[in-house]
Amino acid sequence: MLNRIKAIAVKETRQLLRDVRMMGVIFLFPVFLLVVFGYAINFDVQHIQLSVLDRDNSPESREFINSLLSTDYFDLVTYLKSDREIREFLDRKKAQCIAVIPSNFSNEIYRNEVAKIQFLIDGVDGNTATIIMNYVNAAVASYSNNLNYEFLSSRGIKLSSSVSLEPRFWFNPDLNSTRFLIPGLIGMILIIIAVVTISLSIVREKERGTIEQLNVSSIKIPELLTGKAIPYIVIAFINAGIILAAGYLFFGIEVKGSYLWLLISTLFFLAASIGIGILVSVIADSLQVAFLAGTLISLLPSMLLSGFVFPIESMPYVIRIFSNVTPTKFYIVCLRSILLKGAGIEVFWEQLLYMVIFTVIVVVAASKIYNKKQLKELSS
C-alpha cells in the first residue's frame, strides 16, 4: 500500500515539476496576493488630505491647524481663499476634509466664548469619514484642554487632575490592519492552492483517460487520493512558510504561539481544502471547469464569509449560518489565536473539530456524487 502511495506521489511530483505554468501559479500567486493585501488594501486611515479656509488668520488659528498637521494623520493640501473653492475641492476629491475657521475665532477665544470651527468631511466612504471625525474630535479636545490649562495657570490656579483614559490595544497594539489581515490571507492562499491543484490533477487524469488505467489496477481510491495529496500538502506548507516569512520581513508579524499547533491546525485545514478539491474534481469534467469552479468555490467564501475582512459577528443570522461553507472561517480563528495572541489549544480546539466535520461532509458528498455520476455516464 505504502509502495503504491509513494509511486503516485513521486509521479505527481514529477508531473508538477515539469509543469512550469503551474509552478509559476503556485509560487507567484501567493506573493502577488500578499503584496495586494499587505500594501494596497489598507484600512488604516492616515495622511488625510486636509484643506483649510482660514478667515481669521491669527496666531491661534494657525496654532490649531499646526496641532492637526503635527501628526501623521493629516496632510495639508493647500489654504483655500474663498467659499467657492470648498465645493470644488470636495467635488474633485482634492481634499477629504476642509476646516473652515471663522474670522472671529481668536476673538472668541479671548472673550472666553465658545469658538466654533466648521469641519466639512467627504462622507462618501462612511468608514473613513467616521475615523476622520474621531481624529478631529480628539485633536479639538486636546487643543481646548491646552487652552484651559494655559488660561487657568496664567491666573495661578493649579488644575486638579481630571480623569484620564489610557487605552491599550492587546494583540495588535498599533491597530495595524495588515496584522489583522495576514492570518486570513494565509488561509485564503492555502485553500486556493490546495483546491485548484488537487482538482486539476484529478480532472487531468479524467480528461486524458489515465484514470481508467488506475481504476483497473488494484489501487484503491483512498490510496490514489493520499498519494496525490502528499506533494500538494508539501507545497502548501512551503507556501505557508513563504507567507509567514514575508509577513515577518515586511509587516513585522511574528508567530507568538506554538509552531506545533500552527502545523497541526494547518494540516487539518489542508485536509478540508483537499476535500473541497476532490468534490470539485468529481463535479467538473474539464480542466477549464475545474479551474474556474475551484477558484470560485475557494476564493469567494474565504474572502467574504470567513471573517477574513468582514467580521462574522456583525453579519445577519442567515449569512452567519452560511459562513460555514468555508473551512477558512475555522482556520482563521486558529491562526489569529496562534499568530497574534499566542494562545494555546484551549482557545481553538473546537475549530479543529469543525474542520474535521467539514472534511467528512465534503468527502462523503464527493463519493455520493461520484457513484451517481458513474452510473449516469455508463448508461448514456
Binding site: R4, A7, K11, R14, R208, T210, Q213, L378, S379
Partner: protein
Amino acid sequence: MNYSIVAENLTKKFGDFTAVDSVSFKVEKGEIFGFLGANGAGKSTTIRMLCGLLEPTSGDAVVGGFSIMNEPDKVKQSIGYMSQRFSLYNDLTIEENIEFFGAVYGLKGKLLEKRKKWVLEISNLIGKERTLTGDLPGGIKQRLALGVAVIHKPKILFLDEPTSGVDPISRRNFWDLINRFSDEGTTVLVTTHYLEEAEYCNDIILINAGRLIAEGNPQRLKTEYIDGNAFEIETENPVELMDILKKAKFIIDVSIFGKKIHVITKKQFEKPDELENYCTQNEFKIDRITRIVPTLEDVFIHLLEHGSKNAQQN
C-alpha cells in the same frame, strides 16, 4: 478444457435500459478471443464487468479463477487492461511511465527493473528511456501502452479497441505483439471494429443490442451462419443495382463494397447466370459476376440485419 473466462448470463441494466442482456461465453486459456459489435452494442460494458470495474446486475463471470461478483479485487490483480482511451502520461518520460505503472501493479526492486527492461525491449524503445512520452508517434505510444499494461505479466489481457486510430503498419506490429503474448500463454480478449483483425482471432463473438448473436471461430462463422451463396458483382452504378436487387425474392442480403456489390442468395441459387438474367431482365448492365466465399463482413452484415429483425419481433 481449461477456461480463462467463463461468463454466465451476464446482465447489466442501467435503469430501464439493458446494456448487456444475459450474455454467456467461454474463453480458452491462451487463445485470442475477439469481441465484435457496433458502437453501443454492449462490448465495453461487458469488458468493464469482466475487469471488475462494474458490478453486473445479474449473472456472474469467473475470470482467472475469481468471481467478478465476489472477488473483483482479485480479478483486477490477475488481468491487464488497455483501452483505446488509455494514453500514458505524456508529461512523464518513457522510463517514468513504466516505473509508475509497475509500482501501481505492486512491482518493486529488481523485479521492477527486470520488467522495465522487458517492456522497453518489446516496445523497441531501448535507449530512449528519457524521451517524453508525449513526443512519441501514435503507433509507438500504443505499443508502449500495451507493454505497460502487461508489465505485471497478467494471465489475461483485455484490449478495448486497442488499434483504433493507428496506421496499418503499426497495427500489424501491434498484432505481432498480441500473438507473441498468446504464444506465451496469455489469454487475450480484444474488441475491435476492424474485421480483418477479427480474422486473427481464434474465436469470435458478435454482440448486438446487448445480446450475443453469434459465436465461433471465423471459419465456422463464415460457413455456418450464412444459409446461402455469396456473389460479387462489379458494376458502374452499384447504388442503383442494390435497389433493384433488394426487390428480388431469391436474395437474402445485398451490401456495397465500393464499386462492387456482395449478394447473398438463397441456397438453391448457386449459379451466377441466374443473377445475371435477373439484372438483364431489369435492363441493368453489369460488368462481371463471380461466386465468392463470404467474408466476415458479409456474415456480420447478414447477422446484424437479421439479428436486429429478430430483436424487434421479440
